[in-house]
């Protein structure tokens, strides 16, 4: 009984899954959202065609622990660093930003320099992502 009560009070990790830019493919993002739900995360899904501003504003209002950006369009160099910058400008220094999609190795280095903590390519399992999120999300305040 008491264990159950304690468990109720531990906080789930909150993640926003967003699709920046104009690509219209969100099957992967939805599969990930569902998978993270099953891993016990609270997943805020924003839908398609978001600007970096919309994503940063949503992340702020939702006070998420993690921002997950799914991008397949090839516009990642234009959109991801800008999104990280806007998130940091809003004072969210401790929020983990990660990305998934088709991103060439050469760009991965640059994106990490720009503050994207990790990039998950094709073939990554949901379990791997969930584990990474649990290990690297900010600690409960």
């Amino acid at each position: 009984m008491n264990d159950e009560r304690r468990e109720d009070r531990s906080r789930p990790i909150r993640v926003i899954i967003a699709k920046p830019g104009l690509d219209g493919h969100d099957r992967g993002a939805k599969v990930l959202a569902r998978g993270l739900r099953d891993e016990g995360f609270e997943v805020i899904y924003t839908g398609l065609r978001q600007t970096p501003e919309m994503i940063a504003d949503a992340a702020e209002q939702e006070d998420v622990d993690i921002v997950g950006l799914s991008i397949l369009s090839g516009a990642h160099m234009a959109l991801l660093p800008r999104t990280v910058q806007l998130i940091r400008e809003r004072g969210m220094d401790d929020v983990l930003v990660a990305a998934g999609g088709i991103i060439p190795d050469a760009d991965v280095v640059k994106l990490k320099e720009a503050g994207v903590a990790e990039i998950f390519g094709p073939g990554t399992s949901i379990g791997q992502i969930a584990r990474y999120f649990r290990e690297n999300a900010r600690r409960p305040s």
Partner: protein, 309 residues
Amino acid sequence: MSSGPAAPLDALGRGERLPLARLLTRIENGDPSVRPLLPSLFAAGRGGHVVGITGPPGSGKSTLVNELIGEWRRRGRRVGILAVDPSSPYTRGAILGDRIRMMEHAADRDVFMRSMASRGELGGIAATTWIAAAALDAAGYDPILVETVGAGQSEVEVARLAETTVVVEVPEMGDEVQAIKAGLLEVADIIAVNKGDRPGADRAARQLRAMLSTAGGRVERKPPPVLVTSATTGDGVAGLADAIDAHRAVARSPVAARERAESQVRRALADLAAERAAAASAWDETVRAVAERELDPITAAERLIDGNS
């Protein structure tokens, strides 16, 4: 966050968003630091109109809320939204998808929208939603819209919190008997038959009006207005916003305010009693006795309360 307990309240008064967001997180998590803030949080309320939006899954609540936000923004109001979606009873995970319909307002500085998971509550909102609404009130949002999880017939908890409860139905809601069943429709202050661009919407509205005028809603109340809306075309949305605004005065009559307050205090009392009893030393032994059928649950509850009051 480390500069004294009242610091977040000052930040709310200045309209800062991140401190509000972080306070909402602490509220949701039942963080012990929230309890001492409650008196000043409620005292800092600015009289924002708390409006519940409920109805079955897929009835268009989020899309309608999105349209209402647009309508109230055109009228110069700052709109706060708490949108609740269900938590999994198995993993406690949740998909919070209400933002999908509302992203057009994401970057509007005068709209604050927060998704909440129900976290084990079955009444359509989370246990902490009412405190979150108080925080949005202190931050100067008016109205404050509380969108429930997709509700069936008995998730009526939102009516305890909201001054005005809007029940969203669809034209295919069912026959006339559905309109006279107890539950969700009974707590409606306003009914919106959404998806009004579909055939049968006007007929459904007429049926609802006819049945509710004879069967009544809550005792001695006049039947709630039934409006036809279409969240996709925007038809009827301005009228719905008018009806909600008009209901504010009704909701604040001394009788209605007292009824709501009584319901809130009862709920707080029940929660507090349960919390204290569960923390008591006799808890494990008493629960064991019920499990082994030595004791009935009501006698058990009496003993726990009497031993700890």
